[in-house]
Symmetry: C2
């Protein structure tokens, strides 16, 4: 799409933590977004809700959204399981009729809906399902451990804790230092932002690690550093399989642990609270032990998501996390990402020395 003008649907869920896809596209490509559809927040702006995104308007109906003259409708939330709320179908049909393409990262593929597919053909529009996996994925064979660049994976204490955003912030900072740095997208939002990648949570289970391996091999071309977007959490009751397949398929040389500072329970924004998030040092132990069972790796820093703290609290939270783990820690979105950038550069220096020696 040469001049993308997205209307993002995030109905009932446009929120700093809930509407991850919407928020990330607004953060990294605000000029591509003409509006957000959320009936509960109509009349506000992206800036009002997210604290960034400027004057991008929030509208309360598909008609008001189409009046902003988008050329594509993007699904901006990722509901558990990735299925589409039923009433959105009519909005998407109106979008196609108004000349918009459709872009989705849901597990349920829009292009599999016969009536939407027929409408798209009739109006000459495209439907892009970012979670549709490539054909002929391999079974992982540990090939990612053999690439030349230094590979860093973000891992989390839960879903939606900053694993993609941290890598995007670091990608920019490392590039600014003159290091050839490739971001590897493993989820639908990362794919929307970067333009390529595979949603590893949407492949057939036997091929999770194979998909990750293939992505790292591609990301390793012409790169000094490969930053892989992590998924889920090693102790998430629903998604840990994706997390571990990605960890073992990507064979990262180092890990960055992402945590949302105020969160107390796994998945507390999606299911009934049950599993209390253990201390960060417990995650460091778990990820290093299980990751190194396939390829030696260690956690080299903590990326803390402090969006709902004031500045003093946020700094205190970073200091506390650093003290607990003995690792550099910052919120790479809110503050300068330097502590984590320096951790990656130092760890890569050690990696290069070990390979020379």
């Amino acid at each position: 799409m040469a001049d993308p003008r997205f209307l993002i649907i995030a109905d009932g869920n446009f929120h700093p933590l809930e509407s991850k896809t919407a928020n990330s596209v607004i953060r990294y490509h605000p000029s591509r977004v003409v509006g957000v559809l959320d009936r509960q927040k109509a009349g506000q702006t992206a800036q009002d809700v997210l604290g960034f995104g400027g004057a991008i308007p929030i509208v309360g109906s598909i008609e008001a959204g189409l009046a902003l003259r988008p050329n594509a409708i993007m699904i901006g939330i990722a509901p558990a399981g990735g299925r589409l709320p039923d009433e959105w179908n009519g909005w998407l049909a109106k979008g196609l009729e108004a000349g918009c393409d459709l872009i989705s990262g849901l597990h349920t593929f829009l292009s599999d809906d016969p009536s939407l597919a027929a409408l798209a053909v009739k109006h000459g529009r495209t439907i892009t399902d970012a979670r549709k996996p490539p054909n002929d994925l391999p079974i992982a064979a540990g090939l990612a451990r053999l690439v030349d660049p230094f590979v860093v994976l973000t891992v989390g204490t839960d879903c939606n804790s900053g694993k993609m955003t941290s890598q995007l912030q670091l990608t920019a900072a490392l590039k600014a230092k003159g290091l050839r740095t490739n971001f590897v997208a493993t989820g639908q939002t990362g794919i929307f932002i970067e333009g390529w990648g595979t949603a590893v949570d949407a492949v057939v289970a036997d091929f999770i690690a194979g998909a990750a391996e293939e992505l790292v091999l591609r990301g390793a071309r012409d790169a000094d550093i490969v930053l892989v977007e992590g998924q889920g959490s090693i102790n998430h009751p629903g998604y840990s399989g994706v997390t571990l397949g990605l960890l073992h398929g990507a064979c990262p040389d180092a890990l960055l642990l992402c945590h949302q500072a105020t969160r107390e329970f796994i998945g507390e924004y999606r299911v009934e609270p049950w599993l209390r998030i253990p201390p960060l040092s417990k995650y460091v132990q778990l990820y290093e032990l299980i990751g190194s069972a396939v390829h030696p790796t260690r956690v080299i820093g903590i990326a803390l998501n402090t969006y709902d703290l004031d500045e003093t609290q946020a700094k205190a939270a970073c200091l506390a996390a650093a003290a607990e783990t003995g690792l550099p820690c910052t919120d790479p979105v809110r503050f300068a990402p330097d502590p984590l950038v320096n951790a990656v550069v130092r760890a890569r220096d050690g990696y290069l020395e070990r390979r020379r020696g």
Copy 2:
């Protein structure tokens, strides 16, 4: 199928370790198997190759196989990635033309092949793809931890180490003791044997744990003990995601660790040796730590596959594994499964006491 008469295709791979599906159906339902097609071993019997299965003949062509008057052709091997060797298509077509149904556990669904599908319709035959996942699987929410029966999962040091067979042996032994015991099949072979189940390695990655949860909830009906078939290994570079999703979705109260005694490398029968299998005590640590991150669990016994050792060596291997881990150990196929049966019963007694207390 009222009176199943299977011709099993295991061409080039009929072998105690390779043709897992063929071997297991022959072990548990020998009366259903009229023959095995393997051009390399034609003229021998199942007994010659496997050490069990009696006079079931091995034939060298599809014509010789059809002369045994099967009413179904079963795919008896599980190649890495689950894809069908090209030349088998012609054999399957001849099977359909001769009035046979088709039964497969491959990732590539036979029913998706237009020419086979058309032939099946023409001849009024069925094609069963055991790996085709159910629709509308849930995201796991830890519900399996709430079931009443005592749930035991087999975990392994690698693929193909005895995780299904051990549970089938224990199911029979526990039933014989009067305990209501349900076997939960999580792979195609287990499904062929038990008649229900879901191949958790074939579901979309986000739903591995959800599929496991659903299976345990079903297996828990009218049961004192639920024995869940494990998959893969926690440090298998290709399949660990499936292993962990199953572990976290099933919420087992206890684990049995399965190992093939003489194996030194992960996946040595499938890919180039690379990852040396660590000591059993390392696996005990890994599985308990990562499993208990979602639901408290511990390893209560070791099931050793000693098929390629003589009797003295096999007994020595069991003693060595027990000494290393401090856990009861036996080969539950070769020897009496009592040490593991007793371990399950004792662990369940403790579980019932804790629930009362």
